[in-house]
Structure formats: C-alpha cells, structure tokens
Symmetry: C2
DNA sequence: AAGTTAGTACGTACGGTGTAAGCCTGTCAA
DNA sequence: TTGACAGGCTTACACCGTACGTACTAACTT
C-alpha cells in the first residue's frame, strides 16, 4: 500500500502543520469549504485522514489555523498619513484577501473565539485609530460600527451576482412577476440593469458598494472624532 | 413499537409543514442549531426522521422555512412619521426577534438565496426609504451600507459576552499578559470594565452598541439624502 | 553496535449525519 | 367493497469526525 518501493528515494515529504493548513486553504479555494473533510484533505496530501491529527487537534483547530493563514495574508498597516487613509487601505487589502478565499468570511464568523492572529490584526487596527486621535471610548464604538467590515467583508443578505442569469425574454417575464410581489426592490434591480446596460456582467458593482459603505462609516466616525476633539 | 393501543383515541396529531417548522425553531431555540438534526427533530415530534420528508424537501428547505418563521415574527412597518424613525423601529424589532432566536442570524447568512418572505421584508423596508425621499440609487447604496443590520443583527467578530469570566486575580494576570500582546485592545477592555464596574454583567452593552452603529448609518444616509434633494 | 524512546503514519471501528427506495396501513371516494 | 393514495415506517447507503491500537522510522543513549 505504501509507496516505499525505494525508501531512500520515494520518501514522502513529511507532513507539518503548515503543510496541512496550506493544503486545506488551497482545497477550499478550489472546491469550496464543503469539499473540505478530513478524509478528503488527507487524500489531497497522499495521507490517511487520521495522520492529520498529528498536526491539528481536530477540525475546529484546522479551521482556526486556516483563518490564521488567510488573515496573515492581509498587508500590514502603514503608519504614514491620516488615520482614515491607513484604515481604508488596510480594509481594502483585507477585502482583496477575502475575495481570494471566498469561504473565509463564513468560516471567520463561525469561529467561537478570535485567534491570536485575528486579535493581533484587530489590535494593530485599533492602534491606527488611537494614533489618529480617537478616544478609547469612540474607538470601541467604532469597532462595533464597522463590524465585520474591518476584516474586509460586509454581510450581504442576498447573492446578487447570479440573480438573474436567464435569457432576455424569460427575464422580462420574471421581472414582471417580481414587480408585482416586490415593487420597491424591483425598482432597484431595473435601475441597476439600466445603468450598467453597457457594462459587462450583470448585477451591481460590489467593489464600489463596499467602498461606499466603508466611506460612509469612516466619514461618520471622523465627524464624531472631530466633535469630541473640539469639546 | 407504535403507541396505537387504541387507534381511535391515541391518534397522533398529524404532521404539517407548519408543525415541523415550529418544532424545529423551538428545538433550535432550546438546544442550539447544532442539536437540530432530522432524526432529533423527528424524535421531538414523535415521528421517524424520514416522515419529515413528506413536509419539507430536505434539510435546506427546513432551514429556509425556519428563517421564514423567524422573519415573519418581526413587526410590520409603521407608515407614520419620518423614514428614519420607521426604519429604526423596524430594525430594532428585528433585533429583538433575532435575540429571541440566537441561531437565526447564522442561518440567514448561510442561505444561498433570500426566500420570498425575506424578499418581502426587504421590499417593505425599501418602501419606507422611497417614501422618505430616497432616490432609487441612494436606496440601493443604503441597503449595501446597512448590510445585515436591516435584519437586526450586526456581524460581531468576537463574542465579548463571556470574554473574561474568571476570578479577579486570575483576570488581572491574564490582562497583563494580554496587554503585552494587544496593548490597544486591552485599553478598550479596561475602559469598558472600569466604566461598568458598578453595572451587573461583564462586557459592553450590546444593545447600545447596536443602536450607536445603526444611528451612525442612518445619520450618514440622511445627510446624503438631504444633499441629493438639495441638488 | 545494540537498545531505547519518541514521533508519526496506518487501519479499524464507532456513532453520528442526510436522504433514496420501498413497504405498510389507515382514510376516503367511487 | 374496492381501489387509490397520502403519510407514516423501515432499511440501507455513503459520508462525516475522531478514539484507539499498531507498526514503522529516526534519533539518541549506553
């Protein structure tokens, strides 16, 4: 069974926590988080499932480690410039990371406790705000207000990427039915489709929407910070 | 095995989609979403797991139905008053609902597509904004900015409810270690603990934080709306 | 050189999951 | 009375995470 035809040559590169985590991230990127099982991951590494338990404590620990790998990919903060620019740049870097690993946001919100790596990320982000003149109190509020946005994702309630991927006629009929049930939302859909009729790809510009929401928050926080400083 | 000692009397009240969904919600409220399996739910209803499949298409459909039940519990919108008050009241009602069903937010964000009930909820919310003078475009942006907040929950990255539930001495030691690793975040924790030294319960006031973030968003949107109207 | 020990991979097994397929029975219309 | 049928039950399957015991390997000790 084992491939040790020539033990000196066909030596299997040994497992390690790092190799396990990387393989898990790579598998999830490629086939989605649902495809990630201990057996499947072992198979991916040419190893039995139980061997993985020598390097991760269990599936929970595996997921924790994967989150750390992903969060570790986010650019470190830059200390120069006003706080808004630094926060903005870092959050947008985080967003790019999350887009590379679409499963990550769901896994992150599913963790019970933030890992040291995530805590470190948060702390450095907090540092930017404090150096930018935030009171501890406002910093605290600000973190709550930003929510998961600090990690580069916003919570979308519906997946508008593939909302209406039918033919034009079909789409018109469906739209009419939709309009009867949800007149207001249909107005949005029609507007978006009209605006981007020339642009390739249906649906709205997620990147622009993310930045809009982010800037709305940052502006609001800056206003509060300035008011606090004036007092 | 079956309890049909007297078929005319011991008749089991028949299943129905509604009864299945209600039992699922009730079980999840009581023992958490992880306790919800088809077998366990059947057991709860005095029925075999496979019998449930006569009323729900599968577990996914079950979860969809449960979301509908929960969203259906949110108060309908009030048409009176300014848009901000109406939106605020509805979102806070949604939040109360989500607090009653702690599993719901995770399930909602896990759904692939919004169900008709959720769509209806969104649509009525959109209606409030449109009647409040929003352009379709700004409405669209606003929904993205609010994110999951429209459904009454914000995405918390860490669970600060039971963060530090150890003894005082232990806590002091841990805090010191924490301070070395995460100086900025520790500042927040200490401030919160100091502020609420007299108040029962550790951690911050989640309700206040939610409202802070919500109002920050609503104020920002109102500012944009007014600017748009002036143009 | 021989013996010991620690680490790591393997194999098996257990109890859980969702659900496909077929059976059995009570209810009701013709 | 008969037939259809809806809605329950039973069995079975493929998968999951992981506890446990075994066996091989490499390094260190004597």
């Amino acid at each position: 069974m084992t491939a040790r035809t020539d033990p000196a040559v066909e030596r299997r590169t040994p497992l390690s926590r790092d190799r396990v985590l990387r393989a898990a991230v790579e598998l999830s990127d490629r086939e989605g988080i649902d495809a990630l099982s201990m057996r499947r991951l072992g198979q991916e590494l040419g190893v039995e499932a139980m061997s993985l338990y020598n390097h991760v404590a269990g599936k929970e620990d595996l997921l924790d480690g994967m989150v750390d790998v992903v969060v570790g990919e986010v650019d470190p903060p830059s200390d120069a410039g006003p706080w808004q620019a630094a926060v903005r740049a870092r959050i947008l870097s985080a967003r790019r990371t999350m887009l590379r690993h679409p499963w990550a946001s769901a896994v992150i919100v599913g963790r019970r406790q933030a890992s040291p790596v995530v805590m470190g990320y948060m702390d450095s982000m907090a540092g930017i705000l404090l150096r930018g003149g935030f009171s501890v109190d406002l910093l605290h509020h600000g973190f709550h207000a930003l929510g998961s946005r600090v990690l580069g994702f916003s919570q979308e309630l519906f997946d508008d990427s593939s909302d209406l991927a039918a033919g034009d006629e079909m789409q018109a009929v469906m739209l009419q039915q939709l309009a009867a049930a949800y007149p207001n939302i249909t107005a949005i859909v029609q507007q978006v489709q009209h605006d981007e009729a020339s642009v390739v790809g249906s649906g709205c510009d997620d990147q622009a929407e993310f930045e809009f929401a982010l800037d709305l928050q940052l502006d609001g926080l800056e206003r509060l910070r300035a008011a606090e400083a004036a007092r």
